[in-house]
């Protein structure tokens, strides 16, 4: 991409962001104006050894990262001395256990999507009260427990401090520094082992899951110099670690309470900054740590997810064969002016926040002979719009803050019609920032702040520019009418799956 700019003989430096994601690892170099200088990326294999199991090879991910860092520097034509800091954003919850003496993982990493573990025996209200998380297999605790129980002698070794746990941030920092064992508070908040009030590991939870404290990393802030790299970038400070969705919130510069971002990909992740006190959800949303800068107070967030967004479009492409590429959903939806009375509720694996019906299955309702594939395509996009509205309504109710704008990122923001639909359904402007790589940017910002590359949050905010925005244009009466229809369609999804249990069919 662009060659590094030099002005007035000053050496210009860069911040390296590492985005260790679920399917790939990326390294991006940013300059002071937060523009991307080079991007390199490597995919890693997903291993599905049994139904419901998803594993990663952590050693492979570390090898990939070393190559990527060298490539990123080579493409930008710069040396290690021109890197001011390293920041890491990572897939959350994915669990790595490794041998302290050899640094070798003791088992394949268990990925957040893996459902081999069971949380049904847990006291849900206790766990949610302590950690902010409604018990789910996503979180690290039951994954660690599973590995300790299913690997011979592992528990004894863990108790002696010979085996260490970490999420991907910890694993990479351990390797880059040659043995520093830490994590950040956003990642720790996703383990289901951290007390959200004290921001420390909770002894009661550790006892419940049978996890020895000796194997856990020290919890640090998201933005401080943890140490310096020794192997790949000798002497460069490692100055940020932050879970990917929190990183996107930070990269979108949602620094004020009431500011929110939604990342649209396969699913959607909506995070709302709720300020320095955690907001407990009454609607099944997740209370999580947004970020913490050095020894400042932590900033909390409410998180709600849209289970099926881009994956519904993929289903229309691969399952129904109505379109050839995902982008064509917009072209097809553009052949009609409304949904023709048709609604799709994509409850492929249940309905999540704010409905919570895991047994529900998807429905298409309102079919008449008038309905064409264009109406179906429209209903597909509208389903993502309504799911966003459902999560936003729950967040507004929990936080007492009314969302005034939604900042968006992710692949689906290329869908102009979808973005207009979201603005129409939420009745707030939808704003797309100029830097699409918000996860990496968040990691870069957090690292740059810690080393003084950027001076403060205002400095970061000054880099933010709107690339596009969509203003609500739907008539209020029509919107409420459509919303009522969507709610009835959701009831249909719940009703249909109920018949299965009650023998009503």
């Amino acid at each position: 991409m662009a060659s590094p700019e030099r002005s007035g003989g000053d050496v210009v430096s860069y911040v390296l962001a590492i985005d260790q994601g679920t399917t790939s690892t990326r390294c991006i170099l940013f300059d002071r104006r937060a523009t991307v200088v080079s991007v390199v990326r490597a995919e890693h294999p997903q291993s599905y050894p049994r139904p419901g199991w998803v594993e990663h090879d952590a050693a492979r991910i570390w090898r990939d990262l070393q190559k990527l860092i060298r490539r990123a520097l080579r493409e930008a034509g710069i040396g290690a001395s021109e890197v001011a800091a390293i920041g890491i954003a990572n897939q959350r919850e994915t669990t790595v256990l490794w041998d302290r003496a050899t640094g070798v993982p003791v088992a394949p990493a268990i990925v957040w999507q893996d459902t081999r573990t069971d949380v049904s025996h847990l006291d849900a209200s206790f766990v949610q009260d302590r950690t902010g998380l409604p018990p789910a297999t996503y979180f690290s605790a039951t994954k660690i427990q599973w590995l300790l129980e299913h690997t011979p002698l592992l528990k004894e070794r863990a108790e002696r401090g010979e085996v260490l746990f970490g999420t991907m941030d910890s694993w990479l920092i351990w390797n880059m520094t040659g043995g520093l064992h830490i994590t950040d508070v956003t990642n720790a908040s996703r383990t289901m082992l951290m007390d959200l009030s004290s921001l420390d590991w909770d002894d009661e939870l550790l006892a419940i899951f049978g996890i020895p404290r000796a194997m856990l990393p020290e919890i640090r802030s998201s933005s401080e110099v943890y140490g310096t790299a020794d192997a790949v970038l000798p002497g460069v400070p490692i100055a940020a670690a932050i879970g990917d969705q929190s990183a996107a919130l930070f990269g979108q510069t949602c620094f004020e309470p009431g500011e929110a971002k939604c990342t649209y990909g396969t699913g959607g992740f909506l995070l709302l900054n709720t300020g320095t006190t955690p907001v407990r959800s009454r609607h099944g949303l997740i209370t999580t740590v947004g970020y913490r800068i050095g020894d400042e107070k932590p900033v909390f967030a409410l998180e709600g997810s849209i289970a099926i967004a881009g994956s519904l479009v993929q289903w229309v492409r691969d399952g129904l064969g109505l379109i050839g590429t995902a982008s064509e959903i917009e072209t097809l939806a553009g052949t009609v002016t409304d949904n023709g009375g048709c609604y799709i509720v994509p409850a492929f694996s249940g309905l999540f926040a704010p409905y919570w019906h895991s047994e529900a299955r998807g429905v298409i309702v309102g079919l008449t002979s008038y309905i064409t594939k264009g109406h179906l395509a429209r209903a597909v996009l509208e389903a993502t719009g309504w799911q966003t509205r459902d999560v936003v309504d729950a967040m507004n109710a929990d936080s007492g803050l009314a969302l005034t704008a939604l900042n968006v990122d992710g692949g689906m923001t290329a869908d102009n019609l979808l973005m207009q639909i979201v603005a129409d359904f939420l009745q707030v402007p939808v704003v797309r920032p100029m830097v699409a790589e918000t996860v990496s940017l968040g990691a870069a910002y957090a690292a740059g702040l810690a080393v003084g590359y950027w001076s403060d949050l205002r400095d970061l905010r000054a880099n933010r520019h709107r690339a596009g925005s969509w203003r609500p244009a739907l008539d209020a009466g029509r919107r409420e009418h459509e919303y009522a229809n969507w709610r009835r369609a959701v009831e249909c999804a719940v009703f249909f799956s109920r018949g299965d249990q009650d023998g009503l069919r």
């Binding site: 590429t325 520019h465 925005s469």
Partner: protein, 255 residues
């Protein structure tokens, strides 16, 4: 299998594959195609992969059998969906706007006009309206001149329909437009200085799919004093940025 000297063998072979697939009712495996045409399997594989890349054949992911592709049914279109084009251009258009400091647009030719399929705001946080779906006059804009420069029949139709004046600088003469389009082709980018709106100047460059087919144009537009110098020539740095963005998007579209 004979080959007439002077003709291009791979095109003859591609035609044979298409005729073979069109003749049969069943979908065919690579081996069956190679056997039917008397080729080594590797030759058939190479031809099929290329035809698949341009959308003329499709492979069923489950059975690995080949059939005619949807691209053949729709030969009159550019072969790339407008929204797909926007998706591929997204990151590069953002970078163009960020670097140039001006608003960026991606346009395609539709019924003799420029249809704006993507628009990125000028990065100054002023209030701006998203102009996706807007149509612009082809002969008066940089985007339009680029699209017409590589599309002779469309250029002829636009000229025949009459060249409306939007400002006193709009090109309304058939001959002047023809020369302008020739210059645009020769240097690889298009320019409009106050030809559509007074005070506004724009630079654009072509987006090409494999084979060189121009499917769109990407460009920037801004105040004439920022986009051009005192002699009303576009600033070389901006031209470089636009041409680089067009190349990057072309690569993205071809991958």
């Amino acid at each position: 299998m004979s080959h007439v000297p002077g003709l291009i063998q791979s095109i003859e072979r591609s035609s044979a594959v298409l005729r073979l697939l069109a003749a049969g009712e069943d979908r065919l495996r690579v081996k069956e195609i190679a056997d039917a045409l008397g080729w080594p399997k590797s030759t058939a594989h190479g031809i099929l992969r290329t035809l698949e890349h341009v959308g003329f054949v499709e492979q069923d992911p489950r059975t690995a059998r080949y059939r005619l592709g949807r691209g053949l049914l729709d030969l009159a279109s550019s072969g790339i969906d407008d929204n797909e084009l926007r998706g591929r251009a997204l990151n590069w258009a953002d970078a163009l706007a960020a670097r140039s400091g001006e608003e960026a647009r991606l346009g395609v030719l539709r019924d003799g006009q420029v249809l704006v399929v993507h628009h990125v705001f000028r990065p100054d946080d002023s209030l701006q309206n998203l102009g996706i779906g807007v149509r612009l006059p082809a002969h008066a804009t940089a985007l339009g001149k680029v699209l017409l420069a590589y599309h002779a029949t469309a250029a002829a139709a636009v000229t025949a329909a009459g060249l409306d004046a939007y400002t006193r600088r709009t090109v309304t003469s058939r001959d002047v437009l023809r020369d302008d389009l020739a210059v645009t082709r020769a240097r690889g980018w298009g320019l409009s200085v106050e030809e559509w709106r007074p005070g506004l100047a724009a630079v654009a460059a072509p987006v090409r799919t494999s084979g060189g087919l121009v499917v769109g144009a990407i460009g920037i537009a801004g105040p004439v004093e920022r986009v051009t110098d005192t002699r009303r020539h576009p600033r070389p740095q901006l031209v470089d940025q636009v041409v680089a963005a067009a190349r990057s998007i072309s690569r993205e579209v071809q991958s």
